[in-house]
Amino acid sequence: MPVAPPRPTAEPPRAERAERPARSTAPEDGAPWRRLYRSADGRLLGGVARGLAGHLGVPVAWVRLVFLGLLLADGLGILLYAAFWVFVPLGIGGRAAVEPRPLFETAEDGRRRLRKPDKGQLFALLALAIGCLIFLGDRNTTGNANRYLWPTLLIGAGVVLVWRQADNARRASWAAVDSRHRRLFQIVRALVGVGLVGTGLTVFMVVRGSAAQLGNVLTAAIAVIAGIALLAGPWLVRMSQDLSEERTMRIRAQERAEVAAHVHDSVLHTLTLIQRNADDAGEVRRLARAQERELRNWLYKPEGTGKEEDEEPGTLAEAVKKSAAEVEDKHGVPLEVVVVGDCPLDDKLSACMQAAREAMVNAAKYGGEGGPVQVFAEVDGRTVFVSVRDRGPGFDLDSVPGDRMGVRESIVGRMQRNGGTARLTSAPGEGTEVELTMERADA
């Protein structure tokens, strides 16, 4: 098929183009290689026309018109389109310049697409429909071919459905956006596609009058398929084994590389910082502690990549640990966290977590020099209990002036507003403990 290699269009960068360049390897002189992709964005069918348009730097409507013209020439357009669809990989190309894809865009194309995208699209669609009608009408007049037309159309539609499906699956594996509805939709679509093809084939056979020999044909077909399976079976099994082994090796290598990268990024970096700050004992301790926690998370979390720290915590345990980690990093005081049980966060618990965080900050600020701050959280049935305890100097609760709102508002007030309780225990010299109790909203 003469479709895979990119077609030369513009003058200067043509020389650098290779047959199958990898996308990531840009040549040394800076001129990017361009490779033909079908467009994943804004496509009508397979993204062939848009991909070509982006590649050639012409408006997509032109490409569609050309295909249409070829379609009228005895259906050559369909064949060509199908061939492109099968052999050209799905990628990013032919999109207007609104998207930051400088690799595949020429500036003028982008501007054009930006100006009149809708008109062009409509025009192309209309032209396509008219062309198809003309094509069909043409066939109809010839009479004999008419009997094969509808089965062929059915088969074509089924194939199109299934092939678009394959594209979507590939896209989903890149973008990883998937929902249950979508999957259901995909299954339905695949079934419809298969059904269409099956119906088309059946009608084809009926039309040809070979329905009578259907049994014979089927037997023969099954016999042939079984024979091929027997012959090729061992070889196929062997090949799939080799493939899976190779894949395992590759995954292992990737994992090792990832570990190396992580260690390089975090541990070596921290060690350098520690070397540089060797005189500042507090800073060294803080760095080491932060690093230890991160590494521990990364190593012992089942699917941990150590890079999800920015995500909002979804459960109580995560929330407590995250708050503690942040306070620890910020104030340089170690916090020992113990969490028993776990449950999803609701609004009341989020408020409780904010109060707990405030308590941790207080403990780190005022009680940090007496040793590590102990944070304990427990989910016991419907009740959630959090205790934050420091061994600092402590204070006399009654002597706190009325204008100091930290404890009163952030902790006690917040808990009460949300239907929980907060209890403070403190005595000079004995440290301070904040106990928070909150009922869970749901069962």
Binding site: Y300, V339, V340, Q374, E433
Partner: protein, 239 residues
């Protein structure tokens, strides 16, 4: 972690009864640097009362050294070449049971993952501390273990609470496998960072009672092996 904390180990020796108390210790850890560090931290016998009588770097060595020297306490790393700390505990099980001068194990590890902790405790270790522990606390823990008490860090107490909370123990043997209300209370206070003394004050009981509660928890934890085994076998359709 050297000069600063080494200075603190002096008072610790006095706290635990002065240098006239002696305990013989074997260090098991596959990192020589770490053994050297611990040795430097706690091994000055006159000050701390701890006498390091042997070291080992893997499971086989550990079993040999422990059998030969018969220490009172073994500081045991959880991750070791040759099967890990659990394997050492398994092979040294006869030594733990002897009536006079039993060998007691204190696990010492960087990992505070639940399966490591529960694993060695079930294997028979009398306590579990992490490597971030200070020299003072380590010496204290060693003496505690030597006297037959359990050493529970807050984190360990949390794991135990968690393990028992999520265990749907069968109704038979309930008294054996379930923690009593009091034991749970004690564990909860340990998890909250209270010292044994403070727990005693809080619950209006004596320190000795607290310690016996903790030991009971430890005993139950080891005995719950049976159910663990049953569950394991059922899960794999062996029974």
């Amino acid at each position: 972690m050297t000069s600063q904390q080494a200075g603190q180990t002096g008072p610790a020796g006095e706290d635990t009864g002065g240098p006239e108390r002696r305990v013989r210790v074997v260090l098991v850890d596959d990192h020589r640097m770490f053994r050297t560090g611990v040795q430097a931290e706690i091994g000055r016998t006159e000050a701390t009362g701890v006498e390091v009588v042997g070291e080992a770097a893997d499971v086989d060595q550990a079993v040999t050294v422990i059998t030969a020297t018969r220490p009172e306490v073994v500081l045991l790393d959880v991750h070791l070449p040759g099967g890990g700390g659990v394997e050492v505990l398994r092979r040294c099980a006869p030594l733990m049971g002897t009536a006079e001068r039993p060998v007691r194990f204190l696990a010492l590890s960087v990992s505070d993952a639940a399966e490591d902790v529960i694993g060695v405790i079930r294997g028979g270790a009398r306590g579990y501390v992490t490597k971030t522990i200070t020299g003072t606390d380590l010496v204290d823990s060693i003496f505690r273990v030597q006297e037959g008490d359990a050493v529970f860090s807050p984190r360990l107490a949390g794991f135990v609470l968690d393990a028992f909370a999520s265990t749907d123990a069968p109704p038979i043997d309930e008294d054996l496998d379930r923690l009593t209300q009091r034991e749970r209370e004690v564990l909860r206070l340990i998890a909250r960072g209270y010292a044994y003394k403070e727990i005693a004050k809080q619950l209006f009981i004596s320190v000795k009672t607290v310690e016996s509660h903790v030991s009971a928890v430890l005993r139950k934890l080891q005995l719950s092996n049976r159910h663990e085994l049953t569950r394991w076998a059922t899960a794999r359709r062996l029974i």
